[in-house]
């Protein structure tokens, strides 16, 4: 049994395995399937200042080895979360992290401030990469200037661990990561979904109400790995890797490419117990490789 604990900023994780926002609800939905306390952490649904209804149906299209979604940040807002959901989550023995989204810098800051006040939320993940909302979202994550602006504004308002979630829909993700680091991020997580599209040829219509949507699932892993590797080589802060992780081997590949933690997203839909299987699988791998500590394999890719 190797040591699995890792650190991300001031955040101590009992193991590197977390869940990806928007794919894990508020965690409680998984309580019938797994012991949530086994997770390194879980990241709840994208949360905004005000209630959002999200995009019209249809919001999902299956694609080879993956899916497109166009949920559009449907959520009841941070106040509802604080009053109704937080009390149910605050006593879990794991890191519960809020994924914060917004369409203006003021929104991000106001939401982050409210998160700061929630004692048992040790970190937020700033989503500057949602491809499914017209205003803001991804727009903040696609230029170094706007990324720096929003991250530094939130940094001033939030004093716990600040993770910034990056968009893959850019030509140079490392430069955005550096901008987030310079603006005070404690960590970056990547990747959010890839902008994609699916078409019904017979009906000559798009399959999503929004025409384009965000692609996730097994098919995106090679792109995510490449980006994690590039970012790992560009910044000093810890990197959290995600995108297409379906099993322990996939997760280990991200760790080798420099991720200190990983998140599982779409895989939870297919196997709601996948998180604990990945934790066990990482442990078995470390034993097999003769490693005493998971930190030995982080960034240990031989190139």
């Amino acid at each position: 049994m190797a040591r699995l604990d890792v650190k991300i900023g001031n955040l101590e994780l009992k193991n590197p395995v977390m869940t990806a926002s928007g794919t894990f609800g508020y965690g409680i939905e998984f309580a019938d399937f797994i012991d949530l306390n086994r997770l390194g952490g879980f990241i709840v649904k994208g949360t905004t200042l005000k209630h959002r209804e999200g995009n019209p149906y249809p919001r999902m299209a299956e694609v080879p080895m993956g899916m497109l979604n166009a949920v559009g940040l449907q959520n009841k807002g941070i106040d509802y979360f604080a009053e109704n959901i937080y009390p149910e989550l605050k006593d879990f023995d794991t890191n519960v992290i809020i994924n914060v989204s917004g369409s203006t810098i003021e929104d991000y800051v106001a939401t982050a401030e409210k998160c700061n006040a929630l004692e048992n939320i040790p970190a937020i993940e700033l989503n500057i990469s949602c491809p499914n909302v017209k205003e803001g979202g991804m727009a903040f994550g696609t230029s170094t200037k706007s990324a720096e602006d929003v991250v530094s504004a939130v940094r001033k308002a939030y004093d716990k661990t600040l993770i910034v979630k990056l968009s893959p829909n850019v030509s140079d993700i490392a430069s955005i990561a550096k901008a987030a680091e310079a603006a005070g991020a404690d960590s970056v997580s990547l990747i959010n979904t890839l902008l994609g599209m699916a078409v019904d040829a017979e009906k000559r219509t798009p399959l999503l109400s929004t025409v384009t949507g965000g692609m996730s699932g097994a098919a995106v892993k090679p792109i995510a790995l490449r980006m994690v590797w590039q970012v790992f080589n560009a910044v000093k802060i810890p990197v959290i890797g995600l995108g297409g992780i379906m099993n322990a081997t996939d997760a280990i590949e991200f760790l080798l490419c420099g991720a200190t933690g990983v998140q599982l997203g779409t895989a939870n839909f297919i196997d709601p117990q996948i998180t604990v299987k990945v934790i066990d699988g990482i442990n078995e791998y470390l034993d097999r490789q003769g490693c005493k500590d998971v930190n030995e394999i982080i960034g240990a890719l031989k190139v």
Partner: protein
């Protein structure tokens, strides 16, 4: 209700009609199946089908408590359901169940319920009919299909109530669509339950609304997770977007925006 994920074993495979399979499944270790209610569904994992990434939602067709079997009636429409239909007795399928809410079954004894199913939408009506009959409800089924080959499980339905049928080609029952069947004019019902293609359900819903009959519809929106975490399956309702997988699949017509 506590959800479970487990491998179930196929104990019997039947072909109730062209392009349909009926899988009867049980637990691998002899333990009791979890309690399941009419209208609920399961998410079945499809292995070795490269084009099938997500699980497939399939209704609880019937629960045979005496034998500890759950039945799934599957229309082989695309790669995922064809793969499920190619499995054999003894094979295992990873199943998450029970999912979703249920039809209202605590109706007054002696009240009259009409259960309307079109195509594979007849699947949940069998278990619902059985539950209603057990409560002393007077059950009638109105089942529609393209032709006689696609009218499924009629013998099973007859155990629980009167069976009325329509086929588009007239090969069984009245010719035409469900919504033109004479029983809708000849008899009066207290409750209507429906599942099937959306245009059919909307027409039945209109009939129910016009006649002021309570009506519950079961929706089949596209799903990614099936247990309320992805928010992909929403239906726009009077209370905003609701998840068909966890707030539904059964909705009282009054909650939907169909009439507006």
């Amino acid at each position: 209700m506590k959800k479970s994920i487990q491998d179930l074993r196929i104990v019997s495979k039947e072909y109730p009609g062209n392009n349909y399979v009926l899988l009867k499944m049980t637990t691998t270790d002899g333990s009791l199946l979890p309690e399941m209610l009419p209208g609920q569904f399961a998410e079945l994992k499809v292995d070795e089908s490269p084009s099938t990434f997500l699980r497939r939602p399939i209704s609880i067709n019937y629960v045979d408590k005496d034998n500890n079997h759950v039945w799934f009636l599957i229309q082989m429409i695309g790669d995922g359901t064809k793969k499920l239909g190619s499995l054999n007795e003894g094979d295992l399928i990873s199943v998450i169940l029970p999912l979703g809410n249920t039809f209202t079954t605590d109706l007054t004894q002696g009240s009259k319920a009409l259960l309307v199913g079109g195509g594979v939408g007849t699947a949940p009506m069998l278990y619902l009919g059985a539950a209603l009959k057990a409560k002393g409800v007077n059950v009638s089924f109105l089942l529609g299909a393209r032709n006689i080959d696609a009218l499924l499980q009629l013998e099973d339905f007859r155990q629980y109530g009167n069976v009325h049928t329509t086929t588009e080609d007239g090969s069984h029952g009245e010719k035409g669509f469900i919504t033109n069947h004479s029983v809708l004019n000849d008899e009066k019902f207290d409750y209507i339950f429906t599942c099937g293609p959306k245009p059919m359900m909307m027409a039945i819903a209109k009939y129910a609304a016009d006649k002021k009959i309570e009506c519950e519809v079961s929706l089949e929106n596209k799903m990614a997770c099936g247990f309320g975490v992805c928010l992909c399956c929403v239906e726009n309702t009077k209370e905003g977007h609701k998840c068909v997988c966890s707030d539904g699949p059964v909705f009282n017509l009054k909650k939907l925006l169909w009439q507006d």
